[in-house]
Symmetry: C2
Subunit: 199 residues, 2 copies
Amino acid sequence: MNKQQQRSEETRTRLLKAAETSFAQHGFDATGVAKICQVAGVTKGAFYHHFSSKQEIFLELFRRWLEGLESQMTNLREETVSVPEELLSMSGLIQEVLQAAEDQLPIYLEFWTRAMRDPTVMQALIDPFHRYRDLFSEMISEGISEGTLKKVHPETTAKLILALALGLLIQGLIDPRGDDWQRVTQESLQILLTGLRER
Amino acid sequence: MNKQQQRSEETRTRLLKAAETSFAQHGFDATGVAKICQVAGVTKGAFYHHFSSKQEIFLELFRRWLEGLESQMTNLREETVSVPEELLSMSGLIQEVLQAAEDQLPIYLEFWTRAMRDPTVMQALIDPFHRYRDLFSEMISEGISEGTLKKVHPETTAKLILALALGLLIQGLIDPRGDDWQRVTQESLQILLTGLRER
DNA sequence: ATATACATACCAACCGGTCGGTATTGTATG
DNA sequence: CATACAATACCGACCGGTTGGTATGTATAT
């Protein structure tokens, strides 16, 4: 890699990093491009050299986040054996998501909110989201055919599980240190599995 | 109430109504005070006569929403008999929330996002939220002592149920016409109850 | 007469994005 | 190896437009 390319890439990541924390702290609208540049230690010229608009740097962050999530989920699937076990190990994933971001968790909400207004962002959200759902749906179907799960409707159950994950994440947002969400997730999944498991 | 008060109150509600739809459609930041006034059919003078800032009219809407939710929930509790039945009738409530707002659902997300930045809004959100949780917690405890529910941890289960409700709401936001969320909610609660019910 | 409820005109601040220019690195040529 | 040229990466002053909020005037009810 060139010296130039190297420098370029570094500024780019600095900008992304700066944008991420800024968006997380103050939201998309309240974060000026100038502020992002200041945090990144570059100028507007650099910014608009790398990104064509404020919207675009946001979308870039969004995509990266979704990609990370998806790869985590697929990794998960490969490591486990039975479906119920697989579901239980989900709690670890939720915990990871919660911890990974720490202070900048609100950016996820920002993603969501903006998706509601902007069709481009919405599409970027919906597609992976549906893939997650399908992934869960397949998991359920698998569990049914392997005889570890009751004969429930896979798609509905997938929605149920996703709802649980989303809801716990959001509650974790409100009450970050109030509770051991790892434990709550674990127990919740236990209860859920009691209703799902074939015995 | 005299003629002046009557007029005053009408403008106030018009402003609130206008703000609600505008915030829902375009978000807090993207909605100008001027636009709210235009929709309401009054001028800025009227606006700042009734509300000291844009933030304040937002908070007013927020409080009203939370109050509405809470009263709906307490109503629900009085009408039903056994706890499992009570939980099942929750699905109706979720459905109501989804329908009631229709186009302006995103405003709830707006509430949430702003709460993450603004301590005032956050407090206004957390307090009722904890009350909801306590309400559920009591429901569970009641169910346990009346012998219809297994001996689970009430608070954890309350979080689980709230998570489910929140998650389904959010998925409903993404996919408003994709599915019969009423049915999904119903079935999800069924599955959950299978894991909770004492038999 | 006086307070209330609103209208009008206006401002200072800010913000996303542009643009002409510069500095540094890479490359072709003699 | 030196020179000329080109491409890339970046700078920072600037602009048009918007916005929340204010100052002041006016009409109407009490």
